[in-house]
Protein backbone atom coordinates (compact mmCIF):
# COMPACT_ATOMS: atom_id res chain seq x y z
CA UNK A 1 0.00 0.00 0.00
CA UNK A 2 2.71 2.42 1.05
CA UNK A 3 4.80 1.23 -1.89
CA UNK A 4 2.03 1.98 -4.34
CA UNK A 5 1.44 5.36 -2.78
CA UNK A 6 5.15 6.15 -3.11
CA UNK A 7 5.21 4.91 -6.71
CA UNK A 8 2.33 7.11 -7.85
CA UNK A 9 3.54 9.98 -5.71
CA UNK A 10 6.83 10.08 -7.59
CA UNK A 11 5.39 9.49 -11.05
CA UNK A 12 2.33 11.75 -10.96
CA UNK A 13 4.05 15.16 -11.06
CA UNK A 14 5.79 14.21 -14.29
CA UNK A 15 2.64 12.69 -15.74
CA UNK A 16 0.62 15.82 -15.01
CA UNK A 17 3.25 18.13 -16.45
CA UNK A 18 3.72 16.08 -19.61
CA UNK A 19 -0.02 15.55 -20.11
CA UNK A 20 -0.70 19.26 -19.72
CA UNK A 21 1.73 20.03 -22.53
CA UNK A 22 0.98 17.13 -24.86
CA UNK A 23 -2.47 15.58 -24.40
CA UNK A 24 -4.32 18.83 -23.96
CA UNK A 25 -2.51 20.66 -26.80
CA UNK A 26 -2.99 17.64 -29.04
CA UNK A 27 -6.78 17.63 -28.69
CA UNK A 28 -6.95 21.40 -28.71
CA UNK A 29 -5.05 21.48 -32.01
CA UNK A 30 -7.18 18.67 -33.40
CA UNK A 31 -10.34 20.64 -32.65
CA UNK A 32 -8.79 23.81 -34.04
CA UNK A 33 -7.96 22.07 -37.30
CA UNK A 34 -11.68 21.35 -37.78
CA UNK A 35 -12.67 25.00 -37.44
CA UNK A 36 -12.18 28.07 -39.54
CA UNK A 37 -10.08 29.91 -37.00
CA UNK A 38 -8.40 32.95 -38.49
CA UNK A 39 -7.45 35.64 -35.99
CA UNK A 40 -8.21 38.41 -38.50
CA UNK A 41 -11.72 37.09 -39.18
CA UNK A 42 -14.62 37.10 -36.71
CA UNK A 43 -16.13 33.87 -35.41
CA UNK A 44 -14.85 30.33 -35.28
CA UNK A 45 -17.30 28.16 -37.25
CA UNK A 46 -16.96 24.38 -37.53
CA UNK A 47 -15.89 23.51 -41.08
CA UNK A 48 -15.21 19.77 -40.93
CA UNK A 49 -12.21 18.76 -42.98
CA UNK A 50 -12.15 21.95 -45.06
CA UNK A 51 -8.76 22.97 -43.66
CA UNK A 52 -7.29 19.60 -44.61
CA UNK A 53 -8.77 19.79 -48.09
CA UNK A 54 -7.42 23.32 -48.44
CA UNK A 55 -3.99 22.21 -47.24
CA UNK A 56 -3.90 19.28 -49.63
CA UNK A 57 -4.82 21.44 -52.62
CA UNK A 58 -2.70 24.46 -51.61
CA UNK A 59 -0.01 25.05 -54.22
CA UNK A 60 2.41 26.63 -51.72
CA UNK A 61 1.98 23.65 -49.42
CA UNK A 62 2.84 21.44 -52.39
CA UNK A 63 5.93 23.35 -53.39
CA UNK A 64 7.09 23.56 -49.76
CA UNK A 65 6.61 19.81 -49.39
CA UNK A 66 8.78 19.31 -52.46
CA UNK A 67 11.40 21.68 -51.06
CA UNK A 68 11.31 19.71 -47.80
CA UNK A 69 11.73 16.44 -49.69
CA UNK A 70 14.71 17.90 -51.56
CA UNK A 71 16.13 19.02 -48.24
CA UNK A 72 15.62 15.51 -46.81
CA UNK A 73 17.05 13.77 -49.85
CA UNK A 74 20.29 15.76 -49.64
CA UNK A 75 20.64 16.53 -45.93
CA UNK A 76 19.99 13.07 -44.48
CA UNK A 77 22.54 11.15 -46.60
CA UNK A 78 25.00 14.04 -46.24
CA UNK A 79 24.78 14.17 -42.44
CA UNK A 80 24.96 10.37 -42.22
CA UNK A 81 27.96 10.14 -44.54
CA UNK A 82 29.75 12.97 -42.74
CA UNK A 83 29.07 11.33 -39.39
CA UNK A 84 30.33 7.98 -40.62
CA UNK A 85 33.40 9.51 -42.23
CA UNK A 86 34.31 11.46 -39.11
CA UNK A 87 33.75 8.38 -36.92
CA UNK A 88 36.01 6.27 -39.16
CA UNK A 89 38.65 8.97 -39.03
CA UNK A 90 38.47 9.34 -35.26
CA UNK A 91 38.65 5.59 -34.74
CA UNK A 92 42.18 5.56 -36.20
CA UNK A 93 44.99 5.67 -33.72
CA UNK A 94 46.85 8.79 -34.63
CA UNK A 95 48.67 10.96 -32.13
CA UNK A 96 46.74 14.15 -31.40
CA UNK A 97 43.33 12.82 -32.44
CA UNK A 98 42.23 12.97 -28.81
CA UNK A 99 41.69 16.69 -29.24
CA UNK A 100 39.35 16.04 -32.18
CA UNK A 101 37.10 13.97 -29.93
CA UNK A 102 36.71 17.07 -27.79
CA UNK A 103 36.14 19.42 -30.72
CA UNK A 104 33.61 17.29 -32.54
CA UNK A 105 30.88 17.98 -30.00
CA UNK A 106 31.11 21.77 -30.35
CA UNK A 107 28.89 22.44 -33.41
CA UNK A 108 26.13 20.41 -31.82
CA UNK A 109 26.40 22.07 -28.41
CA UNK A 110 25.74 25.67 -29.45
CA UNK A 111 22.23 27.00 -30.11
CA UNK A 112 21.13 26.35 -33.70
CA UNK A 113 20.36 30.04 -33.93
CA UNK A 114 23.95 30.96 -33.04
CA UNK A 115 25.36 28.46 -35.52
CA UNK A 116 23.06 29.87 -38.20
CA UNK A 117 24.08 33.47 -37.58
CA UNK A 118 27.74 32.48 -37.50
CA UNK A 119 27.40 31.02 -40.98
CA UNK A 120 25.37 34.00 -42.13
CA UNK A 121 28.42 36.15 -41.56
CA UNK A 122 30.67 33.64 -43.34
CA UNK A 123 28.35 33.22 -46.32
CA UNK A 124 27.45 36.89 -46.74
CA UNK A 125 27.37 37.72 -50.46
CA UNK A 126 29.15 41.08 -50.12
CA UNK A 127 31.37 40.88 -47.06
CA UNK A 128 31.53 37.13 -46.36
CA UNK A 129 34.80 35.45 -45.47
CA UNK A 130 34.11 32.43 -47.67
CA UNK A 131 33.65 34.53 -50.80
CA UNK A 132 36.68 36.54 -49.73
CA UNK A 133 38.87 33.45 -49.42
CA UNK A 134 37.65 31.84 -52.66
CA UNK A 135 38.13 35.10 -54.52
CA UNK A 136 41.64 35.59 -53.20
CA UNK A 137 42.63 32.11 -54.32
CA UNK A 138 40.98 32.74 -57.72
CA UNK A 139 38.52 29.90 -57.24
CA UNK A 140 35.71 32.30 -58.23
CA UNK A 141 35.88 35.42 -60.39
CA UNK A 142 33.00 37.26 -58.71
CA UNK A 143 31.34 37.06 -55.32
CA UNK A 144 28.80 34.25 -55.02
CA UNK A 145 25.41 35.02 -53.44
CA UNK A 146 25.21 31.93 -51.24
CA UNK A 147 22.05 32.93 -49.40
CA UNK A 148 20.27 35.26 -51.78
CA UNK A 149 20.47 33.28 -54.99
CA UNK A 150 17.51 30.99 -55.43
CA UNK A 151 19.77 28.34 -56.93
CA UNK A 152 22.19 28.18 -54.00
CA UNK A 153 20.17 29.20 -50.93
CA UNK A 154 18.73 25.76 -50.20
CA UNK A 155 22.14 24.11 -50.58
CA UNK A 156 23.64 26.68 -48.21
CA UNK A 157 20.95 25.98 -45.62
CA UNK A 158 21.62 22.25 -45.98
CA UNK A 159 25.36 22.76 -45.50
CA UNK A 160 24.84 24.76 -42.32
CA UNK A 161 22.35 22.18 -41.08
CA UNK A 162 24.89 19.42 -41.79
CA UNK A 163 27.65 21.32 -39.99
CA UNK A 164 25.55 21.44 -36.84
CA UNK A 165 24.07 17.95 -37.10
CA UNK A 166 27.04 15.70 -37.98
CA UNK A 167 28.47 15.41 -34.43
CA UNK A 168 25.59 13.28 -33.19
CA UNK A 169 25.90 10.51 -35.82
CA UNK A 170 29.68 10.75 -35.58
CA UNK A 171 29.53 9.97 -31.85
CA UNK A 172 27.05 7.15 -32.37
CA UNK A 173 29.07 5.56 -35.16
CA UNK A 174 32.28 5.94 -33.20
CA UNK A 175 30.73 4.15 -30.22
CA UNK A 176 29.56 1.36 -32.52
CA UNK A 177 32.98 1.10 -34.19
CA UNK A 178 34.64 0.69 -30.82
CA UNK A 179 32.52 -2.38 -30.08
CA UNK A 180 33.84 -4.14 -33.22
CA UNK A 181 36.63 -6.49 -32.14
CA UNK A 182 39.85 -5.48 -33.93
CA UNK A 183 40.54 -9.19 -34.62
CA UNK A 184 37.86 -9.12 -37.32
CA UNK A 185 39.45 -6.45 -39.48
CA UNK A 186 42.88 -7.87 -38.63
CA UNK A 187 41.82 -11.27 -39.95
CA UNK A 188 40.53 -9.65 -43.14
CA UNK A 189 43.81 -7.79 -43.47
CA UNK A 190 45.75 -11.08 -43.23
CA UNK A 191 43.49 -12.41 -45.97
CA UNK A 192 44.77 -9.48 -48.07
CA UNK A 193 41.48 -7.61 -48.15
CA UNK A 194 41.95 -4.01 -49.27
CA UNK A 195 40.95 -1.14 -46.95
CA UNK A 196 37.76 -0.68 -48.95
CA UNK A 197 36.93 -4.41 -48.80
CA UNK A 198 37.55 -4.46 -45.04
CA UNK A 199 35.16 -1.53 -44.65
CA UNK A 200 32.55 -2.86 -47.07
CA UNK A 201 32.43 -6.49 -45.93
CA UNK A 202 33.50 -6.38 -42.28
CA UNK A 203 32.80 -2.96 -40.74
CA UNK A 204 29.72 -1.80 -42.62
CA UNK A 205 27.54 -4.88 -41.96
CA UNK A 206 28.26 -4.46 -38.24
CA UNK A 207 27.17 -0.81 -38.43
CA UNK A 208 23.75 -1.65 -39.83
CA UNK A 209 21.77 -0.97 -36.66
CA UNK A 210 23.31 2.43 -35.80
CA UNK A 211 23.13 3.33 -39.49
CA UNK A 212 19.38 2.77 -39.60
CA UNK A 213 18.88 4.63 -36.33
CA UNK A 214 20.85 7.61 -37.62
CA UNK A 215 19.01 7.65 -40.95
CA UNK A 216 15.58 7.72 -39.35
CA UNK A 217 16.56 10.07 -36.51
CA UNK A 218 18.08 12.55 -38.96
CA UNK A 219 14.96 12.32 -41.11
CA UNK A 220 12.83 13.33 -38.14
CA UNK A 221 15.19 16.22 -37.35
CA UNK A 222 15.28 17.35 -40.99
CA UNK A 223 11.47 17.32 -41.34
CA UNK A 224 11.06 19.70 -38.41
CA UNK A 225 14.02 22.00 -39.14
CA UNK A 226 13.11 25.61 -38.37
CA UNK A 227 15.72 27.67 -36.49
CA UNK A 228 18.32 27.57 -39.27
CA UNK A 229 15.85 28.82 -41.88
CA UNK A 230 14.68 31.57 -39.53
CA UNK A 231 18.13 33.13 -39.14
CA UNK A 232 19.67 32.27 -42.51
CA UNK A 233 17.09 33.00 -45.19
CA UNK A 234 13.62 33.51 -43.71
CA UNK A 235 12.27 31.10 -46.32
CA UNK A 236 13.63 33.12 -49.24
CA UNK A 237 14.75 34.30 -51.66
CA UNK A 238 11.24 34.02 -53.04
CA UNK A 239 10.22 30.62 -51.77
CA UNK A 240 13.57 28.91 -52.42
CA UNK A 241 14.02 27.80 -48.80
CA UNK A 242 10.36 27.67 -47.77
CA UNK A 243 10.39 24.23 -46.18
CA UNK A 244 7.12 22.65 -45.11
CA UNK A 245 7.81 23.42 -41.44
CA UNK A 246 8.58 27.02 -42.36
CA UNK A 247 5.36 27.30 -44.35
CA UNK A 248 3.39 25.95 -41.38
CA UNK A 249 5.04 28.60 -39.24
CA UNK A 250 4.12 31.42 -41.64
CA UNK A 251 0.53 30.24 -42.01
CA UNK A 252 0.14 30.11 -38.23
CA UNK A 253 2.13 33.09 -37.05
CA UNK A 254 2.13 35.43 -40.05
CA UNK A 255 -1.25 34.78 -41.72
CA UNK A 256 -2.71 33.93 -38.29
CA UNK A 257 -4.75 31.13 -39.85
CA UNK A 258 -4.67 28.80 -36.86
CA UNK A 259 -7.08 26.25 -38.32
CA UNK A 260 -5.07 25.79 -41.49
CA UNK A 261 -1.81 25.82 -39.51
CA UNK A 262 -3.10 23.03 -37.27
CA UNK A 263 -4.20 21.01 -40.31
CA UNK A 264 -0.77 21.42 -41.90
CA UNK A 265 0.87 20.34 -38.62
CA UNK A 266 -1.25 17.21 -38.37
CA UNK A 267 -0.46 16.25 -41.95
CA UNK A 268 3.23 16.63 -41.08
CA UNK A 269 2.68 14.65 -37.88
CA UNK A 270 1.14 11.82 -39.91
CA UNK A 271 4.27 11.58 -42.06
CA UNK A 272 6.46 11.84 -38.96
CA UNK A 273 4.60 9.01 -37.25
CA UNK A 274 5.36 6.73 -40.18
CA UNK A 275 9.06 7.45 -39.70
CA UNK A 276 8.79 7.00 -35.95
CA UNK A 277 7.10 3.62 -36.32
CA UNK A 278 9.91 2.56 -38.62
CA UNK A 279 12.38 3.91 -36.06
CA UNK A 280 10.84 2.01 -33.15
CA UNK A 281 10.69 -1.16 -35.21
CA UNK A 282 14.36 -0.90 -36.03
CA UNK A 283 15.33 -0.34 -32.42
CA UNK A 284 13.24 -3.33 -31.36
CA UNK A 285 14.72 -5.48 -34.12
CA UNK A 286 18.12 -4.69 -32.75
CA UNK A 287 17.13 -5.87 -29.30
CA UNK A 288 16.23 -9.30 -30.68
CA UNK A 289 19.63 -9.72 -32.22
Amino acid sequence: MVARFYAWGTVTPVLVLVALFTLFPFFYALVTSLHRYVLTLPGKPYVGFANYRAALSDSVAHSSAITSLTFLAVAVPLVTALGLGVALLLSQRVRGFGILLVLVLLPWSVPTVSAGIMWRLLLHGDFGAIDGALYRFHAIDHYVQWLSSSRLALMSVILVHAWREFPLPAILFLAALQTIPPELTEAARLDRATAWQRFRYVTLPLLKAPLMIVLVYETIIAISVFDVVYVLTGGGPGSATTLYSWYTYTVTFKFLDLGMGAALSFLMAAVLIVFILVYMRIVRLREDV
Binding site: A3, R4, Y6, A7, W8, V11, P13, V14, L15, L17, V18, A19, L20, F21, T22, F24, P25, Y28, A29, T32, L89, Q92, V94, L100, L103, L105, L106, S109, V110, P111, T112, V113, S114, I117, M118, L121, D126, F127, A129, G132, Y135, W163, L172, A209, I213, Y217, S224, F226, D227, Y230, V231, S245, T248, T252, G261, F266, A269, V283, R284, R286
Partner: protein
Amino acid sequence: MSRRARWHTGLLALAGVALALVILVPFGFAVSASLQTESQLIERPPPLVPPTPTIDNYRYVFTGQVPEAYKQRALLRGSVTQEARVLPKGLRNSFLVAVGVVLVNLVLGTLASYTFARQRFRGKQVAFGFILASRLLPTMAVAIPIYEILRQLDLLDSKLGLVVIYSAFSLPFTIWVLTLYFRSLPPEMEEAARVDGCTRFGALRYVALPLAAPGLAAVGAFSFLFSYSEFLFALFTTSSTHAKTIPVMISSISVNPDASYTLVAVGIVMSIAAPVLFALVFRRYITSGLVASLTRR
Protein backbone atom coordinates in the same frame (compact mmCIF):
# COMPACT_ATOMS: atom_id res chain seq x y z
CA MET B 1 57.66 2.64 -40.40
CA SER B 2 57.29 1.65 -44.01
CA ARG B 3 56.91 4.34 -46.60
CA ARG B 4 53.33 3.29 -47.24
CA ALA B 5 52.40 3.46 -43.56
CA ARG B 6 53.96 6.90 -43.29
CA TRP B 7 51.89 8.09 -46.24
CA HIS B 8 48.83 6.60 -44.60
CA THR B 9 49.42 8.39 -41.29
CA GLY B 10 50.16 11.59 -43.15
CA LEU B 11 46.85 11.46 -45.00
CA LEU B 12 44.94 10.73 -41.81
CA ALA B 13 46.62 13.64 -40.06
CA LEU B 14 45.69 15.86 -42.98
CA ALA B 15 42.05 14.79 -42.75
CA GLY B 16 42.16 15.40 -39.00
CA VAL B 17 43.46 18.93 -39.52
CA ALA B 18 40.78 19.56 -42.14
CA LEU B 19 38.08 18.41 -39.72
CA ALA B 20 39.45 20.61 -36.95
CA LEU B 21 39.46 23.59 -39.33
CA VAL B 22 35.88 22.97 -40.49
CA ILE B 23 34.76 22.90 -36.87
CA LEU B 24 36.87 25.76 -35.57
CA VAL B 25 37.00 28.32 -38.40
CA PRO B 26 33.35 29.44 -38.01
CA PHE B 27 33.84 29.89 -34.26
CA GLY B 28 37.16 31.62 -34.78
CA PHE B 29 35.75 33.97 -37.38
CA ALA B 30 32.91 35.00 -35.06
CA VAL B 31 35.36 35.73 -32.25
CA SER B 32 37.66 37.61 -34.61
CA ALA B 33 34.77 39.63 -36.07
CA SER B 34 33.63 40.65 -32.61
CA LEU B 35 37.05 42.18 -31.93
CA GLN B 36 37.11 44.37 -35.06
CA THR B 37 35.53 47.61 -36.14
CA GLU B 38 32.76 47.55 -38.71
CA SER B 39 34.91 49.25 -41.35
CA GLN B 40 37.59 46.57 -40.97
CA LEU B 41 35.10 43.73 -41.08
CA ILE B 42 33.40 44.87 -44.30
CA GLU B 43 36.63 44.93 -46.27
CA ARG B 44 36.85 42.48 -49.13
CA PRO B 45 38.10 39.98 -48.12
CA PRO B 46 37.50 40.49 -44.38
CA PRO B 47 40.59 40.06 -42.19
CA LEU B 48 40.74 36.65 -40.50
CA VAL B 49 42.72 38.07 -37.60
CA PRO B 50 41.70 41.46 -36.21
CA PRO B 51 44.29 44.02 -37.47
CA THR B 52 43.88 46.13 -34.35
CA PRO B 53 41.96 44.05 -31.80
CA THR B 54 39.49 46.09 -29.80
CA ILE B 55 36.99 45.26 -27.09
CA ASP B 56 34.94 48.39 -27.86
CA ASN B 57 32.03 46.32 -29.16
CA TYR B 58 31.80 44.37 -25.91
CA ARG B 59 32.19 47.58 -23.94
CA TYR B 60 29.22 49.02 -25.81
CA VAL B 61 27.06 46.00 -24.95
CA PHE B 62 27.91 46.18 -21.26
CA THR B 63 28.25 49.92 -20.65
CA GLY B 64 26.53 51.64 -23.56
CA GLN B 65 29.67 53.56 -24.52
CA VAL B 66 29.44 53.91 -28.33
CA PRO B 67 32.73 52.83 -29.96
CA GLU B 68 34.79 55.67 -31.46
CA ALA B 69 34.89 53.82 -34.78
CA TYR B 70 31.15 54.33 -35.25
CA LYS B 71 31.45 58.09 -35.36
CA GLN B 72 33.07 58.08 -38.85
CA ARG B 73 29.67 57.52 -40.41
CA ALA B 74 30.48 57.43 -44.11
CA LEU B 75 32.68 54.36 -43.87
CA LEU B 76 30.08 52.18 -42.21
CA ARG B 77 27.51 49.76 -43.45
CA GLY B 78 25.54 49.25 -40.26
CA SER B 79 25.29 51.03 -36.96
CA VAL B 80 25.17 50.23 -33.28
CA THR B 81 21.77 49.08 -32.13
CA GLN B 82 20.18 49.51 -28.74
CA GLU B 83 19.03 45.90 -29.05
CA ALA B 84 22.58 44.77 -28.33
CA ARG B 85 22.48 46.50 -24.95
CA VAL B 86 20.00 43.94 -23.63
CA LEU B 87 22.16 40.92 -24.48
CA PRO B 88 23.46 40.51 -20.90
CA LYS B 89 19.86 40.38 -19.74
CA GLY B 90 19.10 37.68 -22.29
CA LEU B 91 22.11 35.72 -21.11
CA ARG B 92 20.86 36.00 -17.55
CA ASN B 93 17.36 34.89 -18.58
CA SER B 94 18.75 31.93 -20.51
CA PHE B 95 20.83 30.90 -17.50
CA LEU B 96 18.00 31.19 -14.99
CA VAL B 97 15.62 29.28 -17.26
CA ALA B 98 18.19 26.57 -17.98
CA VAL B 99 19.11 26.14 -14.31
CA GLY B 100 15.43 25.95 -13.39
CA VAL B 101 14.83 23.26 -16.01
CA VAL B 102 17.88 21.30 -14.84
CA LEU B 103 16.62 21.37 -11.24
CA VAL B 104 13.12 20.23 -12.23
CA ASN B 105 14.63 17.44 -14.34
CA LEU B 106 16.97 16.28 -11.61
CA VAL B 107 14.34 16.24 -8.87
CA LEU B 108 11.17 15.08 -10.65
CA GLY B 109 13.08 13.03 -13.23
CA THR B 110 15.13 11.13 -10.66
CA LEU B 111 12.13 10.34 -8.45
CA ALA B 112 10.03 9.06 -11.34
CA SER B 113 12.84 7.18 -13.10
CA TYR B 114 13.85 5.33 -9.95
CA THR B 115 10.27 4.21 -9.48
CA PHE B 116 10.04 3.12 -13.11
CA ALA B 117 13.32 1.23 -12.85
CA ARG B 118 12.78 -0.56 -9.55
CA GLN B 119 9.11 -0.80 -8.66
CA ARG B 120 6.23 -2.85 -9.99
CA PHE B 121 2.79 -1.27 -9.91
CA ARG B 122 -0.35 -1.41 -11.95
CA GLY B 123 -0.42 1.10 -14.80
CA LYS B 124 3.36 1.39 -14.89
CA GLN B 125 3.75 0.36 -18.53
CA VAL B 126 1.01 2.75 -19.62
CA ALA B 127 2.48 5.65 -17.66
CA PHE B 128 6.01 4.98 -18.93
CA GLY B 129 4.84 4.52 -22.52
CA PHE B 130 2.81 7.71 -22.36
CA ILE B 131 5.74 9.78 -21.10
CA LEU B 132 8.05 8.46 -23.80
CA ALA B 133 5.50 8.74 -26.61
CA SER B 134 4.84 12.39 -25.72
CA ARG B 135 8.20 13.20 -27.28
CA LEU B 136 6.90 12.24 -30.69
CA LEU B 137 4.45 15.14 -31.01
CA PRO B 138 5.83 17.76 -33.42
CA THR B 139 6.35 21.03 -31.56
CA MET B 140 4.87 23.16 -34.31
CA ALA B 141 1.54 21.33 -33.94
CA VAL B 142 1.20 22.15 -30.26
CA ALA B 143 2.62 25.67 -30.37
CA ILE B 144 -0.68 27.56 -30.41
CA PRO B 145 -2.39 25.44 -27.71
CA ILE B 146 0.65 25.85 -25.47
CA TYR B 147 0.48 29.60 -25.97
CA GLU B 148 -3.16 29.37 -24.87
CA ILE B 149 -2.23 27.37 -21.74
CA LEU B 150 0.42 29.89 -20.74
CA ARG B 151 -2.07 32.70 -21.24
CA GLN B 152 -4.60 30.96 -18.98
CA LEU B 153 -1.93 30.39 -16.32
CA ASP B 154 -0.79 34.00 -16.67
CA LEU B 155 2.72 32.77 -17.54
CA LEU B 156 3.19 34.48 -20.91
CA ASP B 157 6.40 36.46 -21.20
CA SER B 158 7.83 34.93 -18.03
CA LYS B 159 10.87 32.83 -17.24
CA LEU B 160 8.70 30.52 -15.16
CA GLY B 161 6.52 29.85 -18.20
CA LEU B 162 9.59 28.80 -20.21
CA VAL B 163 10.81 26.60 -17.35
CA VAL B 164 7.46 24.82 -17.28
CA ILE B 165 7.35 24.23 -21.07
CA TYR B 166 10.99 23.11 -21.30
CA SER B 167 10.57 20.81 -18.31
CA ALA B 168 7.61 19.12 -19.96
CA PHE B 169 9.65 18.70 -23.16
CA SER B 170 12.88 17.51 -21.56
CA LEU B 171 11.51 15.23 -18.82
CA PRO B 172 10.64 12.37 -21.21
CA PHE B 173 14.23 12.19 -22.42
CA THR B 174 15.55 12.50 -18.87
CA ILE B 175 13.30 9.71 -17.64
CA TRP B 176 14.30 7.52 -20.58
CA VAL B 177 18.03 7.91 -19.88
CA LEU B 178 17.78 7.73 -16.09
CA THR B 179 15.50 4.69 -16.06
CA LEU B 180 18.03 2.89 -18.26
CA TYR B 181 20.74 4.03 -15.91
CA PHE B 182 19.07 2.90 -12.70
CA ARG B 183 18.23 -0.44 -14.32
CA SER B 184 21.86 -0.98 -15.23
CA LEU B 185 22.91 -0.65 -11.55
CA PRO B 186 23.08 -3.90 -9.55
CA PRO B 187 20.02 -3.98 -7.24
CA GLU B 188 21.68 -5.98 -4.44
CA MET B 189 22.98 -3.01 -2.47
CA GLU B 190 19.62 -1.28 -2.48
CA GLU B 191 17.92 -4.53 -1.44
CA ALA B 192 20.37 -4.85 1.43
CA ALA B 193 19.58 -1.32 2.53
CA ARG B 194 15.85 -2.08 2.33
CA VAL B 195 16.31 -5.18 4.48
CA ASP B 196 18.10 -3.01 7.01
CA GLY B 197 14.98 -0.87 7.25
CA CYS B 198 15.66 1.81 4.66
CA THR B 199 12.58 3.26 2.94
CA ARG B 200 12.30 3.24 -0.86
CA PHE B 201 13.23 6.91 -0.89
CA GLY B 202 16.10 6.22 1.51
CA ALA B 203 17.48 3.54 -0.81
CA LEU B 204 17.35 6.02 -3.67
CA ARG B 205 18.83 8.86 -1.66
CA TYR B 206 21.70 7.03 0.03
CA VAL B 207 22.48 4.06 -2.22
CA ALA B 208 21.34 4.52 -5.83
CA LEU B 209 21.80 8.25 -6.22
CA PRO B 210 25.57 8.37 -5.58
CA LEU B 211 26.03 5.51 -8.05
CA ALA B 212 23.90 7.26 -10.67
CA ALA B 213 25.94 10.48 -10.59
CA PRO B 214 27.25 10.09 -14.18
CA GLY B 215 23.70 9.57 -15.45
CA LEU B 216 22.53 12.62 -13.54
CA ALA B 217 25.38 14.65 -15.01
CA ALA B 218 24.35 13.54 -18.51
CA VAL B 219 20.68 14.48 -18.16
CA GLY B 220 21.64 17.69 -16.38
CA ALA B 221 23.87 18.65 -19.29
CA PHE B 222 21.22 17.75 -21.85
CA SER B 223 18.42 19.66 -20.22
CA PHE B 224 20.74 22.63 -19.77
CA LEU B 225 21.83 22.71 -23.41
CA PHE B 226 18.30 22.11 -24.64
CA SER B 227 16.66 24.88 -22.65
CA TYR B 228 19.53 27.29 -23.17
CA SER B 229 19.24 26.85 -26.94
CA GLU B 230 15.51 26.40 -27.53
CA PHE B 231 14.18 28.95 -29.98
CA LEU B 232 10.62 28.46 -31.24
CA PHE B 233 8.76 28.62 -27.92
CA ALA B 234 10.99 31.34 -26.53
CA LEU B 235 10.32 33.32 -29.71
CA PHE B 236 6.55 33.47 -29.47
CA THR B 237 5.78 33.24 -25.75
CA THR B 238 8.13 36.04 -24.71
CA SER B 239 7.80 39.70 -25.62
CA SER B 240 10.03 41.71 -23.30
CA THR B 241 13.57 41.63 -21.96
CA HIS B 242 12.03 40.31 -18.78
CA ALA B 243 11.93 36.82 -20.28
CA LYS B 244 13.53 36.85 -23.76
CA THR B 245 16.36 34.35 -23.91
CA ILE B 246 19.66 34.88 -25.69
CA PRO B 247 18.76 32.95 -28.89
CA VAL B 248 15.68 35.16 -29.36
CA MET B 249 17.70 38.32 -28.78
CA ILE B 250 20.55 37.49 -31.14
CA SER B 251 18.14 36.34 -33.84
CA SER B 252 16.35 39.66 -33.68
CA ILE B 253 19.64 41.58 -33.97
CA SER B 254 20.84 39.41 -36.82
CA VAL B 255 17.72 39.87 -38.94
CA ASN B 256 17.92 43.64 -38.44
CA PRO B 257 19.59 44.75 -41.70
CA ASP B 258 21.01 47.92 -40.13
CA ALA B 259 22.71 46.26 -37.19
CA SER B 260 26.49 46.30 -37.33
CA TYR B 261 27.99 42.89 -38.06
CA THR B 262 30.51 43.34 -35.31
CA LEU B 263 27.68 43.57 -32.78
CA VAL B 264 26.05 40.51 -34.34
CA ALA B 265 29.38 38.75 -33.81
CA VAL B 266 29.45 39.89 -30.18
CA GLY B 267 26.00 38.36 -29.79
CA ILE B 268 27.19 35.07 -31.26
CA VAL B 269 30.21 34.92 -28.95
CA MET B 270 28.13 35.75 -25.89
CA SER B 271 25.57 33.10 -26.78
CA ILE B 272 28.03 30.27 -27.48
CA ALA B 273 30.49 30.76 -24.63
CA ALA B 274 28.43 28.96 -22.00
CA PRO B 275 27.32 25.93 -24.07
CA VAL B 276 30.83 25.44 -25.48
CA LEU B 277 32.26 25.44 -21.96
CA PHE B 278 29.50 23.15 -20.83
CA ALA B 279 30.11 20.69 -23.67
CA LEU B 280 33.82 20.60 -22.90
CA VAL B 281 33.30 19.97 -19.17
CA PHE B 282 30.53 17.39 -19.55
CA ARG B 283 31.81 15.78 -22.76
CA ARG B 284 32.13 12.24 -21.41
CA TYR B 285 28.68 12.22 -19.83
CA ILE B 286 27.05 13.75 -22.89
CA THR B 287 28.65 11.20 -25.18
CA SER B 288 27.71 8.17 -23.10
CA GLY B 289 24.21 9.53 -22.50
CA LEU B 290 23.64 10.13 -26.22
CA VAL B 291 24.83 6.68 -27.16
CA ALA B 292 22.74 5.01 -24.47
CA SER B 293 19.57 6.93 -25.28
CA LEU B 294 19.63 6.24 -29.00
CA THR B 295 20.67 2.62 -29.00
CA ARG B 296 19.53 0.95 -25.80
CA ARG B 297 16.03 0.02 -24.81
